[in-house]
Amino acid sequence: MANEGLRDNETLSSLKNESETLKSKLEEERAKLHDVELHQVADRVDALGQFVMKTRRTLKGHGNKVLCMDWCKDKRRLVSSSQDGKVIVWDAFTTNKEHAVTMPCTWVMACAYAPSGCAIACGGLDNKCSVYPLTFDKNENMAAKKKSVAMHTNYLSACSFTNSDMQILTASGDGTCALWDVESGQLLQSFHGHAADVLCLDLAPSETGNTFVSGGCDKKAMVWDLRSGQCIQSFETHDSDINSVRYYPSGDAFASASDDATVSTSICLPILTLLLFMCSPYTVGRLLFTGYNDYTINVWDVLKGTRVSILFGHENRVSTLRVSPDGTAFCSGSWDHTLRVRGFLMYVNIGLLRGIPVTYRGIRPYMGIVGPIPNDSDSGFRIYFRSSVNLFPLEK
């Protein structure tokens, strides 16, 4: 017995030494490869011009903080979930609510739209991820068709369908991620490695392989192989919880955003640290959208590392953000109980005045100042108008 204890101690200390050696070797190698910054490489690229995005639709209906949202592949519908336990499917074009489900728990922190558009998944404090088939039959009760798929031992923080309706990937406060078969509810693969709650996950674009990235309260972002359950790489570049991770569309990089107020763009092999301030990002090629606790959304130029625009409109913390599948709009959800769908400003007439407050009948102007926009010779201010769905059309 005593001998075993001694042997264990020796083995333990030699293992610890080896782990320290490997860790410093890893750091050295990463530092060697970090020969240049992204914005230096992109030095000759033209800066982006003026950027104004107008709120096109405001989706009202949740009774409490909106925690999560996801777009449907048809680019028009979206699902959102809230602290009040409700999950709503909206038609973003008309702002109609097409489906609504009340979950048996509050704080529905995760929701996802199935690739086929025929189902949604959601979960939160119930420690489960459930799938609801969407039906237009008025006589059918959506809650009756609910299927419990994932079971964790702590809250569900994120969920996502893989390329089909058949499998769901989940992340949980129990520190693990897991891949489930929807039909049978069977656990296909589990991913262990985070030392604390996992807060977010994102699947790699399907063409680029079978991996996903997760971020957690242990300040680590980890890249996993979906099939083997192996952690391929882990990155520890943040000082606080990682709230959100998103793959870059090329599949070669991902961005992570943290409570430590930085956003990191990690090219899957070497590490790059880029920008400042954050809550949850989404990338569309050149632009990175990030939502904050100060109610704003910042838009960044990924290549230049500069901020292109600040968007106002929400009246509380921005909790979730996603760009629509075809990139024509993006939707943000907030603790102010609403979701806002924004597109770019198409006409220049209304609202682009220099510093003069204007009142139009029926539209309450929201005085948001965007700018001064960096890299731009025009240093005037622009007024950003919010148009709430309640105000279109005007009453006669």
């Binding site: 890893l26 992204l38 490695g193 070497p270 760009v323 993006f330």
Partner: protein, 68 residues
């Protein structure tokens, strides 16, 4: 007992580190160049950058406002 489980835990950590150490890595300059190329190649397809005409914009406002 607890000794051997700590040892097992450490073994896993070391195994994982060995695996990560063996991964092939490229220089940031190369990865950044590839990222930049992807960005620029796809810029013309990015509606948020290039804009969408009002007639095809599904989120255009539904009616015209009148002023005071």
């Amino acid at each position: 007992m607890s000794g051997s489980s700590t040892v097992n835990a450490m073994k896993k950590v070391v195994q994982q580190l060995r695996f990560e150490a063996s991964i092939n890595r490229v220089k940031v300059s190369q990865a950044a160049a590839e990222l930049q190329q992807f960005c620029l190649q796809n810029a013309h397809q990015d509606p948020l950058l290039t804009g969408v005409s009002s007639s095809t914009n599904p989120f255009r406002p539904q009616k015209v406002c009148s002023f005071l």
